[in-house]
Amino acid sequence: MVIAEDLAREQRSISVAEFFEKNKHLLGFDSPTRGIVTTVKEAVDNALDACEEAEVLPDIFVGVRRVENEVYRIIVEDNGPGIVPENVPPVFGKLLYGSRFHQIRQSRGQQGIGISAAVLYAQLTTGTPARITSRTGVNRPAHRFEIMIRTETNEPEVISHEEIEWDRTHGTRIEIQFRSTLTAKKRLLDYLRLTAIVNPHARITADIDGEITVFERASNDVPPCPKPILPHPHGIEFGALKRLAAASTETVEEFLIGSFSRVGKKTAEEMINLAGLKPSRKVNKLDSNELKRLLEAMQAVRVPAPPAQQCLSPIGEDLICRGLEKEIQLDFIKARTRPSAVYGGHSFIVEAAIGYGGKIPPEGNAMILRFANRVPLLYQQGACAITDCVSQVNWKNYGLAQQGLPMGPVLIMVHVASTNVPFTSESKDAIASIPEIEREIILVLQELGREVKRYLARREKKKQQDDRARAICSIIPEIAAKVSEIVELPPVDTTPIEGKIMRKVVAKKRTVDGKVSIEVNNYTGKEVDLVIYNLSSDKAEDAVPLPDFVESIDGEYTRVWRCTLGAGEAWRAIYTGTGEGTLDLRGVDDGMKVVVDLDV
């Protein structure tokens, strides 16, 4: 067994820091370019989580500055609650150290890997420590640390620690320096913009190599911070159950009621009966077989879904719309938040939005914005269940072009909020395909598809109406003029055609031989009170009738007439001028009026 002994000499434990040093891509540090985006993302996620817990409106500063060729300093500063000095070294200098790992609730960060991985990456590429400044309140001093990670042991090494003056009353600032490039600048800004969309209560100021971009907040309400809940009996695995049981001194019944959500006396009894146990047994005395039976029983018995309102914090339909509209100009936007659902005992909520037109690129695939627990997913779009669901929906039914993904000026945003988002890997780029989640995504997309179809139909109808209005009110009069000239007969009056076809209030401006005439016909069946606005550089002092109100600014005149027109009545004003300018009508619904400028 010489070989085995040889091998034994080589066999030793590996620290998690060593492991990730070798497997950077697992954490999103596959390239220096991406490293910047990942670092900012981890720091901003932490900042937003911290602000949410402290219930303050986040005000986050992100800085990326070139220090020397290919070396950049990344700064992220927040106004969160700060970190007590004792905890600063492990939070930033130890992988897998965090507050949220054992909690069952929606949060951005979870495992306590992200930011310390950035610190690790920095010391790998430049050998410089991370500098952290944090202050927990007005009455306490700020602390500044310089920290590195001992990779062999995954323990923080404090290079320096001092108390300093800081103008922030509370908050945290991290400065990391590493070798990288700024080729991912657009991605970085995209990430921040997307973050701003799903965190409409946050203000994010970015200073990227001197270029400042501010993402202003659209809401001043801090979203409620999700509260941790007890594990759900359907979502627990054997190892976790064994650990919980061993730590308990209660009876099985007390244990089930006290350690799991949605388990009352009746449900607990049902589980215990099914497992064939006595309710009075101490749970820490159960052997492995008994625990296995208990676990099976726990999952067999029907238990209501976990209390999603408490542990999840969806953005909400209104704020999704506001968030999207402040960053992307859209002609149409609709959002839907689905009721909460469950997979494997984990609560989740799917919300989505669909936008159309505006500044969305009109050609090519639709814009797909993916989010999980209010964090944008930037990479691996093709591997994500969201993308897959988007292409599974038959968008042609809803009036959109489609080649796999829908095409055209369409934006589709999907947010999955869960106590445990099932990512395909630790770099958190893509959501795994879980049937329950996919079902919800498809349902919400279908709901939104119907909305967009209604919108497109409305738009098409409006377009046809406008088209017809232009034909009837602007071109037919020209045909009439030309035809009358050809047949050498008096000009034929086209107002009867207008009235018959339009059944609306029609206002027309026409200039012939230096005389501007404004004519309004009420072809509706009702009396209307109208206000007629005419903006132009014509002075029109000879207007008949005289306007009820005239205002002039810098040679531009605004003329206002008021009139009441009974059904079938007409009104007309004439003045000398060039006919340049605009005409508008108030007092009737947009759908009931047609304004035609025959001088254009």
Partner: protein, 362 residues
């Protein structure tokens, strides 16, 4: 009919269109116009005249949408312009008309195709030809070479021309207005219409016209109306058989079809333009294999064009279906001049005599 009478009729019919619209609008009706549908779906074979004409499908264009209203507005402007032209006894080319529309604001044409189509619409509605509106095409007709004497009334007087003796190598150029042309006498047995200039020159150089009593007509690609009218009249009034010799590809078959059956675009005047007795010489797809001609592969567009011809009523004969299907199987096409691969005399000494006697022409 005298020129004055013709002008008066053209003016009256054009104004008639405007008068209809005037009455429609006076009655509170949105102005409209009715036209036969001008597509492949709506051409039918007319047994009496033996040509393809428009069928009964009609479309109504009513000014209820911006696009249709603008179409009518353009038509109104064109009618106004043509009326003026007739009153002043002026004339213009189709291209000039297109440029004149520059000043018509909303009624301005986007391209010359659009104004040409609109003039064809007016021809259909008025049942008159564009020459009656004093409009002429800017394209010149093709040329004739062969034992034929003609008399042409030109602006500089009447001229008599023999199309072999009095002309140079280019032949006699066919004028735009064929109404000014008279055939005096001839010594020909048949007319051969040729697609390409190269083959026209080859037949001339080899003395094909003299050897076989042939009138050579150069089509210059898709033939102009004047060329087609000359072919029709050579066939009609002189009783000469007409054969068409083109390249062996789908586009050339369409040239033959427009000579023999009329084109879809001008089906309203097929009776004047088409020569139903015209026969197709080649290049036939079967010639490509029979003579082992140098060939190119069919392109995607060629294949689509051939497939479209299989559903074109003008090609609905066993002969054409066999040839087209054969070509689709071979996936090859050849030009007329590919015969040169067997020597410069092959086409006049071998191919044409064999093929024409097969067809019963010589």
């Amino acid at each position: 009919m005298s020129r004055e009478e013709m002008d008066a009729r053209a003016k009256e019919r054009l104004i008639g269109i405007a008068r209809d619209w005037y009455e429609q609008m006076k009655d509170g009706v949105v102005p409209y116009i009715r036209l036969p549908t001008r597509t492949k779906r709506n051409i039918e074979y007319d047994d009496d005249s033996e040509v393809w004409k428009y069928g009964d499908l009609e479309s109504t264009r009513s000014a209820t949408t911006e696009k249709s209203a603008i179409h009518l507005l353009k038509m109104a402007y064109v009618i106004g312009f043509l009326k003026q032209q007739l009153v002043e006894n002026r004339s213009s080319t189709l291209r000039e008309l297109y440029y004149i529309s520059e000043g018509w604001k909303k009624a301005k044409f986007a391209a010359q195709d659009e104004s040409n189509l609109l003039i064809e619409d007016l021809e259909i509605i008025t049942e008159m030809q564009r020459e009656a509106f004093h409009l002429r095409p800017e394209e010149d007709g093709a040329s004739i070479f062969g034992p034929l004497r003609i008399r042409e009334t030109t602006r500089r007087g009447v001229k008599e021309i023999h199309c072999q003796e009095d002309v140079g190598e280019a032949g006699y150029p066919i004028p735009n207005n064929v109404d000014n042309l008279e055939f005096i006498d001839h010594d020909a047995k048949f007319v051969i219409a040729i697609e390409t200039g190269g083959m026209y020159a080859r037949l001339m150089e080899n003395g094909f016209d003299e050897d076989y009593g042939a009138i050579l007509v150069h089509l210059k690609g898709q033939p102009a109306r004047s060329t087609r009218r000359v072919l029709r009249r050579l066939n009609d009034s002189l009783g000469l058989p007409v054969v068409v010799f083109t390249d062996g590809d789908p586009w050339s078959y369409r040239i033959y079809a427009s000579v023999a059956y009329g084109s879809i675009k001008s089906a309203h005047i097929s009776e004047l333009l088409a020569t139903p007795q015209a026969q197709f010489v080649g290049v036939q797809p079967s010639d490509i294999s029979d003579y082992n001609l140098p060939a190119d592969r069919l392109t995607e567009q060629d294949i689509n064009a051939l497939k479209a011809e299989l559903t074109d009523p003008r090609f609905a004969t066993d002969y054409w279906h066999n040839q087209i299907n054969l070509q689709l199987n071979m996936k090859l096409k050849s030009e007329q001049q590919a015969f040169a691969s067997r020597g410069l005399d092959f086409v006049t000494k071998d191919y044409l005599p064999t093929r024409l006697s097969e067809m019963g022409v010589i």
